[in-house]
């Protein structure tokens, strides 16, 4: 019997961050180590869970990053590691994990990097230094995992990478965790936004669409936090939309599941995305989706079949599609069912395991 490979897995494994947030990254990492991959590999885990969803100081970040790098160096040098795999976000998270993988590669380890944030595209486009660093990191890794065909092309084209080096594995969630036994679609229709309350998440387009829809029978829940939270709160009040719009802070656990289960329509009109968990969670909760055609979203949403796609910033289309759903509850039912089927087929842990098996073998 061949020896099980020892995989140093740098990711997010704690049950929750300090503020109670259970992120998609955590589920992705934990579901992998608990899956049948454990019969094939021996996991050595290094947790990099962010302490909070809110912004942290550079010193705080550096302190934790250095501590992790030392720990990882020790493991790579003395613990018979075969593969180093890192899941990361954008910005500092990317640079930290990328640096670790470069060191691991120098030490002759197989290296796999999985960048999961959509913001990386902005950073690459606007910051030459960052782009050069990404190129160096990508060149030194054995494999880069992309979340969809858009990201794959972007990585390959932008950094002139060999196609074989970029593997596509869509994001995945625990479908059983969500309530897909849908209640009656009814009045008022419930529309949900879940995520960062920031301009580039399209929250202002949502507000504009709500204004245009006027007195139609619906209510909107915003759940999340971010730089535009207070401004949005003020705007809702100024526009006399408090009867139509509820603004919540971040919601977690049961509260989030309940909000998703009650929602008939989920909105994600972002300007940049990878393949966000919130979208997959909404689809797993039997909810129709209107999302922007960015990142890997078009890989799972086929406009008109299991939701609607819009261009970022296109308030007209957002309003029009909301109107179609409001007038045609049957279409919500059809798209919700189709979305749930998509998630089961493409974005469950079982659907992505074969790719990881190949990669780690």
């Amino acid at each position: 019997m061949s020896k099980r490979k020892r995989v140093l897995f740098i990711g997010s494994f704690k049950n929750s961050g300090r503020d109670g947030n259970v992120g998609g990254q955590m589920y992705a990492c934990r579901s992998l180590i608990e899956s049948e991959l454990k019969d094939m590999v021996q996991w050595v885990l290094v947790d990099t869970t962010a302490q909070t969803n809110l912004k942290r100081s550079l010193i705080n970040r550096l302190f934790y990053a250095l501590r992790r790098i030392v720990k990882i160096l020790y493991l790579v040098l003395f613990k018979d590691i075969d593969i180093v795999m890192a899941f990361c976000s954008s910005g500092y998270s990317f640079l930290e994990k990328g640096t670790i993988l470069r060191i691991a590669k120098r030490l002759n380890k197989k290296t796999i990097l999985f960048p999961r944030s959509g913001y990386i595209i902005d950073q690459i486009e606007r910051d030459d230094r960052f782009r050069r660093k990404v190129k160096i990191i990508f060149s030194s890794c054995d494999y880069i995992i992309s979340q969809g065909s858009f990201w794959r092309s972007f990585f390959v084209d932008k950094f002139n990478l060999p196609v074989i080096k970029v593997i596509t594995i869509p994001n995945w969630i625990n479908i059983d965790y969500y309530d897909s036994s849908k209640k009656k679609i009814g009045s008022p229709l419930k529309i949900l936004f879940l995520g960062w309350i920031e301009k580039n998440k399209g929250v202002w387009e949502i507000l504009e669409a709500i204004k245009r829809l006027g007195n139609d029978d619906f209510i909107v829940d915003f759940a999340g936090n971010g730089t535009d939270f207070e401004k949005l709160k003020l705007a809702i009040s100024d526009e006399n939309l408090t009867d139509k719009v509820n603004l919540h802070n971040w919601v977690y656990g049961e509260q989030k599941i309940e909000l998703l289960a009650k929602a008939d329509i989920f909105l994600l009109p972002s300007y940049r995305e990878g393949l966000p968990n919130a979208l997959l969670e909404a689809m797993a909760s039997f909810t129709a989706v209107i999302a922007s055609n960015v990142g890997a979203i078009p890989d799972i949403i086929q406009s008109g079949v299991n939701g609607f796609l819009i261009d970022p910033g296109d308030v007209n289309s957002l309003t029009r599609y909301l109107q179609i759903y409001i007038q045609n509850h049957c279409l919500i039912l059809e798209h919700s069912r189709s979305a749930l089927e998509t998630i089961k087929e493409k974005n469950s842990i079982n659907s992505i395991l074969p790719e990881f098996m190949k990669l780690l073998n």
Binding site: S303, F308, R320, I324, N328, C330, L331, L333, E334, E341
Partner: protein
């Protein structure tokens, strides 16, 4: 397969581009691969494409003629398009693509409305003449592909599905009482009626021409004009074999893989046998068992056929654990209450194979053109039943034994003097002694009194002279239950999953011939599908041809007694539709049904579909 929709302002008002985009968004499931629009002043129409033939951009629709005079959108497949193309090439036409759409467009350019009769296949077509501003919409002769329209003084609106018309906001949601009357007797509206007062379905074999604000309804193919003639049996056997073989071959034309729904019955086995000749061992076949079929399925027979013809066989086991959302979505797929519960297994099967294959052949039409139902024998033997029928009135309508009530229904039907009504009564599970309209409130019952559920039958029979009663039944079935129930079920259940189903038994060449044969030859001595079976000897194994028809009935009545009983009760008592039903009466039926008494399973199933529809579509009664 695809979806089409359009709006034509009859008063010259410009049409907003977004209106047609909204309509297309509602039917995107029919054609997820591409979308196209044509907007010009007072007309706008569009197309959602499921790419099957000529997958390139050259097959994009709307398609313009070379001189840009004509513009077409089209949903369907015309299997003889290559033959028509050769004919057109001889007449000097050039072609820039390999698509059937271009052939149809040029056929229209050449022959105008006479082109439709040349098309062998399934289609719903709209062609606009930009020079004369005339719009023509047409539908295939069997009604395999749907085409709905709404017309008033201001607009002509058409679409592959009703929802694409409703979303325009230009039509009312008033119920059509004639259709409601038909629905409560048969489980679906008949002919051109839909459950919406302002929306019609174009009849099979018809086309409409809209020009200068005027609308003309015309027929290009009429089954009732087929001349039934004697035929030598041996010759008939040979002809059917050849024509069915050719029909299956024609239906395999595709630029994507084609599969077969193989039930293990005669029709699908015959299709498999012929298709395997042309498709080699790459032919995919699909058989299915359901968790509700109580083990009554034909998986073994299907596997035997698949093995014999060396197909790549797929056996599926499908669970219906999420029954309520499926029932609700099916109402949405049909846009109407639709009570043939066989749409559930078909919907589930399509859901299971979605993404694996785009085109499948299915045996629909075999029973109607070759006589696969026992009522063909029943009408032949009517005289034998007339004596016992005199005692039908002895069975009280308030009897609770399902068996007695079934007998009463049958005897009442067989003793009916009017042939058209008799045949209608044999088809329905309702009986005049216990009218299904009793479930409605007084107000609705009053309005229903002005309608008759037998109009469509009486109308068709009035044009059938000089043929036997059983021949008339054949002709009526082909114009009523085939398009209104079975083909409606097939289109909506399959298109909900973007799957194209083809029906080779409804090939023009085959049906033209078989429909001209006397019923006495097709159902000889009362043997169902006698002639088809003879034609298939030594092609399909005897064990399939001679096996009793097994198949299972969807256990909706059992569900309503058990796991759907509360749901049914909630739905029909929902406040949003409080005015529709006579609550006392319907609740009594529900309670009796739960106790296993009475004979109201189908009626309650119809009530459930109606309640869901009325609520979801906010229907005005």
């Amino acid at each position: 397969m695809c979806g089409i929709a359009g709006i034509y302002s009859l008063r010259g008002k410009p049409i907003d581009r977004d209106s047609i985009k909204n309509s297309l968004a509602c039917i995107a499931h029919r054609g997820p691969d591409d979308e196209g629009l044509f907007c010009e002043n007072n007309i706008s129409f569009g197309h959602r494409r499921l790419s099957i033939i000529d997958l390139s951009a050259a097959g994009h629709q709307p398609m313009y003629s070379d001189d840009a005079r004509y513009v077409i959108v089209y949903n369907g497949e015309v299997y003889n398009f290559r033959e028509i193309r050769i004919d057109l090439e001889k007449r000097g036409y050039g072609f820039r693509s390999n698509s059937d759409t271009e052939v149809i467009l040029k056929a229209f350019t050449e022959w105008k409305n006479d082109c439709f009769i040349k098309f062998n296949g399934m289609f719903a077509i709209a062609i606009f003449d930009r020079q004369t501003r005339a719009l023509v919409v047409a539908r295939d002769r069997f009604g395999i592909k749907p085409l709905y329209f709404s017309v008033d003084n201001n607009y002509f609106i058409f679409a592959s599905e009703i929802k694409a018309i409703l979303i325009t906001g230009l039509v009312s949601k008033n119920v059509n009482y004639q259709a409601l009357s038909e629905y409560c007797w048969y489980g679906n509206p008949l002919g051109a009626n839909t459950m919406f007062e302002s929306i019609c379905e174009l009849l099979p074999g018809h086309f409409l021409k809209i020009e200068n604000g005027q609308i003309e309804d015309d027929i290009y193919y009429n089954y009732n004009k087929i001349f039934v003639r004697e035929e030598d049996e041996e010759n008939a056997v040979r002809q059917i074999r050849e024509k069915l073989d050719a029909a299956v071959h024609r239906h395999l034309i595709s630029d994507v893989p084609v599969g077969i729904f193989l039930s293990g019955g005669i029709d699908s086995s015959a299709i498999t046998a012929f298709a395997s000749k042309y498709y080699g061992n790459k032919l995919q076949t699909y058989s299915v068992a359901f968790d509700f079929d109580r083990g009554i399925n034909e998986l073994e027979r299907a596997a035997f056929v698949a093995k014999k013809y060396k197909t790549q066989h797929n056996e599926l086991y499908v669970k219906a654990d999420d029954l309520i959302p499926i029932i609700e979505e099916l109402v949405c797929s049909h846009d109407e209450p639709f009570a043939d519960a066989a749409n559930i297994p078909l919907f589930l099967l399509c859901r299971a194979i979605k993404g694996h294959i785009k085109v499948v052949l299915q045996g629909d039409g075999g029973d109607e053109i070759f006589g696969g139902y026992s009522r063909y024998k029943t009408v032949q033997d009517r005289n034998k039943w007339l004596f016992p029928a005199q005692f039908a009135s002895c069975i009280s309508p308030s009897a609770t034994s399902p068996r007695l009530l079934r007998l009463k229904r049958f005897l009442t039907a067989i003793s009916e003097k009017n042939e058209a009504i008799r045949h209608a009564l044999l088809l329905t599970m309702e009986t005049p002694g216990i009218p299904p309209e009793d479930i409605f409130s007084e107000g609705i019952k009053n309005k229903l009194r002005e309608s008759s559920p037998f109009n469509r039958y009486v109308d068709i029979y009035s044009s059938l002279d000089g043929i036997s009663t059983i021949d008339k039944l054949f002709f009526a079935d082909n114009q009523i239950i085939l398009p209104d129930t079975f083909l409606e079920k097939v289109d909506k259940s399959t298109m909900a999953h973007g799957l194209e189903v083809r029906v080779p038994f409804l090939d023009n060449t085959l049906t033209d011939y078989v429909m001209s044969l006397p019923a006495s030859l097709k159902v000889k001595n009362g043997e169902k599908k006698y002639l088809l079976k003879r034609s298939l000897r030594n092609i399909v194994p005897d064990s399939i041809l001679d096996a009793p028809k097994s198949g299972f009935g969807v256990p909706y009545s059992f569900w309503l007694e058990n796991k759907l009983n509360n749901y049914l009760s909630e739905r029909v008592n929902d406040n949003s539709i409080a005015h529709i039903f006579d609550r006392g009466y319907i609740n009594k039926l529900i309670s009796q049904h739960k106790q296993g008494k009475g004979y109201s399973g189908f009626l309650l199933w119809k009530a459930l579909q109606l309640a869901i529809w009325a609520d979801k579509y906010e229907i005005d009664f």
